[in-house]
Symmetry: C2
Subunit: 220 residues, 2 copies
């Protein structure tokens, strides 16, 4: 267990990651998986940019694509780091629950350690929510203006980014349910509501752009 | 490029996969990424099963969880294989488009090779659609009956499986748009419609079960 916490997720093979995800080991779990799904969405936005930049046909959107690429690569990097942060923070929650509770003093110390760990463990999935949410408009832009030969990849990116938002909201909520700090809970619920606002509309817009471009060419 | 086609995706590190996904190399692309997202969803279903089986509190659902685990592990294995199949099939499409076309005979041979490759390349993403669709009811079951301590992971699995269905439909459609065999297109569109049928309802049911279990405990 210690090993899978300390090792960085980026250096693990896909098979090992999936095997450890499927196992009963405490990490990696849904939090790391969600961060990686968002990172795949960000990588696909970058791919569309990389297949658009430098093409004469798309010279008009080249500056915009370069800007999107810088942002999608930053989001990808942030999400990979968050996959590790999530696993580390969750391991602290597990450790706190395992603290001794043989007398009242130990019970109080354990309860306090659990609360501290839960608050800290809510931070990475909330950051994943925000990163994935900020990716959605970039998916929309590459769907609308990127190389049409890879427009389905822009649509896949939008689906992954939106799933990343929704899945990470569940990852935040499982912590919130146990947190007693009402102010922290209320502030975090506001952040989750902000992330959900307009999400379905943005996704629907991106997908309808993609579908229109994927429609079979009408027979002349 | 040849190397990234021949190498199996399972043995690649997560960082390498994401870097190659983000690059302008033809593979991996949205097809392989979608298959891996589905595989992560399947792994999370397996995780919930593995954290439910053997717990006295969940003895009543143990047989059901063992059955789900067998199926989710099979789906995971199929999706990992499909990530490679997708990359290989797409590479054939790229190769066909690069065939010479200096005279009429070459043009005709090239057009035929492209059509053959496109039809073959529609098969892996359609299989991904079906695998991800068959995963959704398993997510629903582990959300309803699995270990409540990891109910958010069941919800994450449902979001990833549903995103896998929707994203792979786009991956199929980008091929269908170029395929001239009307019968194949119609048959495939029927399969896509079947996969979409009831998907949102199944996802909504799974997420509402998860949300109800995640609701903060009422103060007594």
């Amino acid at each position: 267990m210690q090993q899978s916490i300390r090792r960085e997720v980026r250096s693990v093979s896909i098979q090992t990651f999936l095997d450890e995800l499927a196992s009963s080991a405490p990490t990696p779990g849904g939090g790391a998986a969600t961060a990686l799904v968002g990172a795949m969405g960000a990588a696909l936005v970058s791919m569309v940019c990389n297949l658009t930049i430098g093409r004469p046909r798309y010279a008009g959107v080249e500056a915009a694509m370069r800007d999107i690429l810088t942002r999608s690569e930053q989001i990808r990097q942030n999400l990979i780091a968050l996959a590790d942060d999530d696993a580390a923070a969750y391991a602290e929650v597990v450790a706190a629950y395992r603290l001794p509770r043989s007398d009242e003093a130990e019970k109080a110390a354990r309860a306090e350690a659990i609360q501290r760990a839960l608050v800290r463990a809510a931070v990475p999935p909330l950051a994943v929510t925000k990163e994935c949410r900020s990716l959605v408009p970039l998916c929309l832009q590459v769907a609308a203006h990127g190389n049409v030969a890879v427009v389905s990849d822009a649509g896949v990116a939008a689906e992954l980014a939106a799933a990343g938002v929704r899945a990470s909201i569940l990852n935040v909520r499982i912590n919130l349910a146990e947190i007693k700090d009402a102010e922290f809970v209320a502030k975090t619920e506001d952040d989750l509501a902000a992330a959900e606002r307009g999400l379905q509309e943005d996704l629907d817009r991106a997908i309808s752009i993609v579908r229109a471009k994927l429609a079979p060419k009408a027979t002349p």
